[in-house]
Symmetry: C2
Subunit: 765 residues, 2 copies
């Protein structure tokens, strides 16, 4: 089914991002620009141990230091924990520390120098405990127990012996054992992905102030301010209505500033506690090293994958086992791991699946929601594996993939029923654009493909309010933070489209939790999808209210009215119109104001038979690489990213998301990795030793947009924020294999690993 | 008809005002407390002439002064005027000045001292014009013309020759000439009221800043911030969506901070213009003298009134003529004058009315919306006149009034159809409470009564949004500014009542025009009436959305649910309940959030026969006074104010409004008056010479509340903010007459006037 062909006035054009010029010229107000009258600074004392009991904390000397206004430890806060799948984390370590970087105490003081001095004066007596850094090791009976009070997952089969589990995720369908018996070939491999840090350029900040009426205001640069509000409310036992969270401009996040206060290692409630105790406004800014070692990361996985295929290339069964490392606390591990396990079934027709996923604690920093959480961790093994199978079968990898493209009505990912499938079209387009079978490759050059589908995440609804001002201009309130997604371009275009007003006459407000509709945050590729549709519904709701009044003024039927060019007009009779401003002004007397309201939960599509189905965004990426066989260096020469977006509301925005995410995927593919010593201490906390993808490894990227498949967003749009980074490592790995015949099964695909694989291929010297 | 007897949990109790303690302990953030990074100050150059042509303005010397960042005159702004009934006023005088205080230019500079210096350096060349200060004089053909371009009112009868008119207000019904012929007596008198200034203690402020995204933020201490936004939008040609108006705490207003930018003599757009030109945040604070001579006042009136009565006391006809002085610009004169003319028909059954009202320009400061605008100006003549008629007829004034109390279905005020009438009950109660006919009066003591009805003003609708947070607490957005009305006590009680949550778990946000529903302002006694009902509707809307979800969780019908004690329960089965927090959290997934929405326009009541009727708040005041015949000094000994409020949602709030308004009425009755010299220069601009009512003239005030008459507000409530000041001067004047037999027909009832009247009574010495 294709999107209804609508005659849009604004959609499909690329209006400039509101405030974009100000941001690139440095006029944005970021956390570091905050100045509150009487403001002081705060800093955190972090554990030097990756695992230790806290025997005592003595803050007296620090408290006595001139310039110190407050010192806080767990004792200053209610004995409450937070978390998602498991409520396992205190805001400040209470009895033990579980990773290097765990916050133990905090100080508010007049200067950064005083803070550093005071933090050194806090005497913490630790009793070091054995450290476990590998998730597979952590599951063994002899491993140290990280969370004594966390019970095994309720759904864990009785016969499974495994320690330190956060979650057990079974993805089971059909009868894979029986199907495997009937397969002509069974291919089995194992893969590993690494821990990476999202490495947004702007550090995490938090500021807090107790207002004159006793309410608490918190400034954050978080993607999910409502999550911050909710968690601070629970941790400090303050009702939600007495907490206001304001969002500053944000210098990058990539999911790393999502997941409430877990992502900042409790920075916001610590800041609030300091403000409450010191009775002063407090601003806290993490430094680069703190940021890298203490905040959330993309969790590493180990995957065993086994697929049964027929000679003709038909996949009949998949088995798998995933061990997902969530670090010291549950964080976002169960969610990211859950999606990873599901995606190990792949985006193809796989009727029999048995994947067991285990999300495991280790003494490392915590898994968060880095762009496409769980996605890369699944796509790298599963799409590398697809090429291995094709090779085994001697089938062209494109042909093999097309063979297994599901039909509408079939399921993928262990049970997700499809309504509409664009996978085949993206494969064909990617092969064509990269010149598969046509481009003459030089020596050591190769082409690789990888596909994916971005499986809809859980319910993360959102609302929107559209206020129509007396001059016909409009103000939009949504709970989505603007940190680069469509908040200030695609979304206001929807209001302009539905109300028939210029783009400049739509203002999107910054998020203030007091006034914005609740929102799960700018996460899950859901700005356009959820807030866009909520905005559309709110704008239509507002327009309908205006139409009622206009119908009276025009002596026409509501059904005959249209809004265009700042007028409400009778369809087909353009001369019969009334200015929107006149209608909006008239509305004041009757209604007070036209307030449009929209809610959207990001539902599944209802098929014609009223069954629910999904039409996830599918993608195929293609990479052309050249490998230096002497150094193992991989140079990506050309990159094609084909994406089904349902409808591209703001084409430049879509392309920008694709390009940015591909570069991020290249980092994960080729160079990024957080490294630890054997005591769990982070080794590379700065950009000197943590290798980021830079211009010299970034190839020409060609974003290709496929439209016409019905998504669940406004006008059939689909989310594009995350999926473009997902296939990248697999596409590169497949291209390397295509170029030099070796398969690297562990990320990153560093020169060392490529070289080692080449040497293993050649056999011992 | 009486109010439905509802079983309230919160209403009728007097919860403490939110933020009240902070305000009385000085922690409020008022305009003078504003600190914006890089902020400079602004000041206004005002006309020294009451009427003059501007021949030239030379700002060069001022602009060159070090520390000056911008100088603005009318030339810096678009050539646009503002106004209500007549669009007659520029933000800065362009061609001529029309009163002493008219803003001519403004300066932004580093310090107040620089501003004073710079203002002196601005050279304005004036050509003085003849000045007219008396409205009756201004109507004459020989009077100077104030607004050359303002045409006569469109509804002015052809045979009326009158200059300088803003509005002509005919209040005509029945056939008064014929009725007069059939009257047994015709009593004719004339009265005058004076100009008073609302004299809120906190001066007007404005601050303005151009934000990084080009939007304009304006801070005000105005009662009607949306009016400010709208007028600044028009004057500076900035779309409404690009202007944000924020409201600071407010130190009194009494209507004097209402009516948009007229009330501040254009302070807000001038401040915005300075911010735009200087590219700096600008704060402006009026000083006391500026405040008194430049901002809006209660317009003075002259009234001729003539009533025909039967011997038995039945009023058969009323004729009248009102000349309302609106000052240099139309301001709120047409509205205040309109209500005054209507109220001259009285709150009694008067079947035949012919009142002609004229609202007239003079070279004085402008009429605004001081508490009960038009009310005192009408009640003083009409209720003094009622006693004169009773005296003439030899009927007890209480008996005479009761005789003419209208029945439901009859009309008052020249055509307002009544649904429900509490007037008689208030008269009886007032007579009883003051001890009429029972208290033994000493020599020179007397008792006086005065009645009134607060006629519903024009459509000033308002909206409300109630957001239910995930813990069940609620956040309320209304456009009503909190400057003492029910915004932070009665209104949140309504949310608590409807959602069944504690009062502390309801937050009412300060007004931010970006986010609050549009509202005509905290004006017209309409906080509880309009915003209260809009809030009730929004809370019920939110509750209904929660009920839908709870019905599923409880497997119950929506109709069977109630919200109480933080739970949603099945009626009659208190054990079958679910916490509101659980339902609100569940709503997040489905809706994003529960956003309740309410609109209310403050409608007339629909009677059972579906006809529209009104049930205005009626009142009777009674004063016991003692007059010193040697000095003319009037001491009020006891004061009873009986008010029908429909239902007292917050009894302490109702009593506070009554007590405060009575004191304000005493000021108008006894001492307050803005005085001018013959050139139109204000003579008394400080509290040294402008006499305010103080503790020594304030008697024991007994507020008496009459409930049970159906108002148009929530649960049948009526407004109480303004009417308690309305009858005061008449009640005092009638008490003086009762005490010493003289009638003073001109306000204030100063010792000089009382003494003069006494001397006239005694005849020439």
């Amino acid at each position: 089914m294709t999107v209804t062909n609508l005659d849009f006035k604004y959609l499909g054009k690329s209006f400039p991002r509101k405030g974009g010029v100000e941001r690139v010229t440095g006029a944005g107000i970021y956390g570091v620009d905050l100045t509150l009258p009487g403001m002081v600074r705060g800093g955190v004392l972090r554990s030097e141990h990756a695992h230790a009991k806290i025997k005592s904390i003595d803050t007296r000397e620090a408290e006595a230091l001139p310039g110190v206004f407050a010192v806080v430890t767990a004792k200053d806060a209610p004995d409450v924990k937070y978390g998602r799948a498991v409520i396992d984390r205190p805001m400040l370590a209470r009895d033990k520390v579980l990773y290097r970087g765990d916050p133990v105490a905090a100080v508010a003081a007049d200067t950064e120098a005083t803070i550093r001095k005071a933090l050194k004066m806090i005497k913490v007596e630790y009793e070091p405990l054995p450290v476990v850094l590998d998730a597979e090791e952590a599951m063994k009976p002899e491993a140290p127990t990280l969370h004594e009070k966390v019970p095994p997952p309720a759904n864990l089969p009785k016969d499974v012996q495994a320690k330190n589990l956060v979650a057990y995720i079974p993805v089971h369908c059909g009868d894979p054992d029986k199907a495997m018996e009937q397969a002509d070939y069974v291919i089995e491999e194992s893969y590993e992905t690494q821990m990476v840090h999202p490495q947004y350029l702007e550090p995490r900040i938090a500021a807090a102030r107790v207002e004159n009426d006793g309410r608490l205001t918190i400034w954050v640069n978080a993607q999910a301010p409502f999550g911050v509000r909710s968690e601070v409310s629970k941790l400090l036992k303050i009702p939600v209505n007495n907490i206001r969270v304001l969002v500053t401009d944000i210098g990058g996040g990539f999911g790393g500033k999502a997941t409430g206060i877990a992502s900042s290692a409790s920075l916001e409630p610590i800041c609030a506690l300091l403000a409450l105790k010191s009775k002063k406004p407090v601003l806290m800014i993490l430094d680069k090293a703190e940021e890298t070692l203490a905040t959330t990361v993309r969790g590493a996985v180990k995957v065993w994958i086994k697929t049964g295929v027929k000679k003709d290339g038909t996949i009949v069964a998949r088995k798998g086992r995933m061990i997902f490392d969530t670090g010291a606390y549950s964080g976002f591990g169960a969610q990211a791991g859950g999606r990873c396990a599901q995606m190990l079934a792949g985006c193809y027709r796989v009727p029999n699946v048995h994947v067991d996923g285990y999300v495991v604690y280790t003494n490392k920093q915590v898994c968060g929601a880095v762009r496409g959480p769980g996605g890369i961790q699944a796509a790298f093994p599963v799409e590398s594996h697809m090429d291995s199978i094709a090779e085994k079968l001697g089938i062209d990898p494109i042909e093999f993939r097309l063979k297994n493209v599901p039909e509408p009505g079939e399921t993928i990912a262990g049970g997700l029923k499809l309504h509409d499938v664009s996978l085949g079209q993206t494969i064909v387009k990617a092969a064509e654009k990269i010149g598969w079978g046509k481009t003459k490759l030089k020596e050591n050059q190769g082409i690789g493909f990888a596909c994916s589908a971005w499986i809809e995440s859980g319910a993360v609804g959102g609302g929107a309010i559209v206020k129509v001002n007396e001059d016909g201009s409009a103000t939009l309130l949504i709970g989505k933070v603007d940190y680069g997604t469509a908040v200030r371009f695609g979304i206001p275009m929807i209001v302009a489209e539905e109300l028939g007003i210029p783009f400049d006459e739509v203002t999107v407000l910054s998020v203030d939790t007091d006034t914005a509709p609740w929102d799960a945050g700018t996460v899950g590729s859901r700005t356009t999808l959820v807030s866009g549709e909520a905005t559309r519904l709110a704008a239509v709701d507002a327009r309908n209210q205006l139409f009622k009044i206009a119908a009276r003024l025009l002596e026409a039927n509501v059904e005959d009215l249209i809004a265009e060019e700042r007028q409400i007009r009778v369809k087909g009779a353009p001369a019969r119109g009334v200015p929107l401003s006149q209608v909006a002004t008239a509305a004041h007397a009757e209604l007070g104001e036209v307030i449009g309201r929209g809610y959207y939960e990001g539902k599944a599509i209802e098929t014609e038979e009223k069954e629910k189905g999904s039409s996830p965004p599918f993608t195929t990426h293609a990479a052309l690489v050249e490998v230096d066989p002497d150094t193992g260096h991989v140079q990506v020469l050309k990159y094609v990213a084909v994406h089904d977006v349902g409808i591209a509301i703001h084409p430049d925005g879509v392309e920008g998301q694709i390009e940015g995410a591909v570069v991020q995927g290249l980092g994960q593919a080729l160079c990024e990795q957080v490294l630890f010593d054997d005591k769990g201490r982070t080794l590379n906390t700065t950009f000197v030793d943590y290798l980021m993808p830079t211009a010299n490894i970034t190839p020409e990227i060609e974003p290709v947009v496929v439209e016409g498949y019905l998504g669940t967003g406004p006008y059939g749009a689909k989310g594009i924020g995350e999926i473009p980074c997902v296939p990248v490592p697999a596409a590169i790995a497949n291209a390397i294999h295509n170029a030099i015949g070796v398969r690297v099964r562990k990320l990153p695909l560093s020169p060392e690993k490529v070289l080692r694989a080449l040497r293993e291929q050649k056999g011992p010297r």
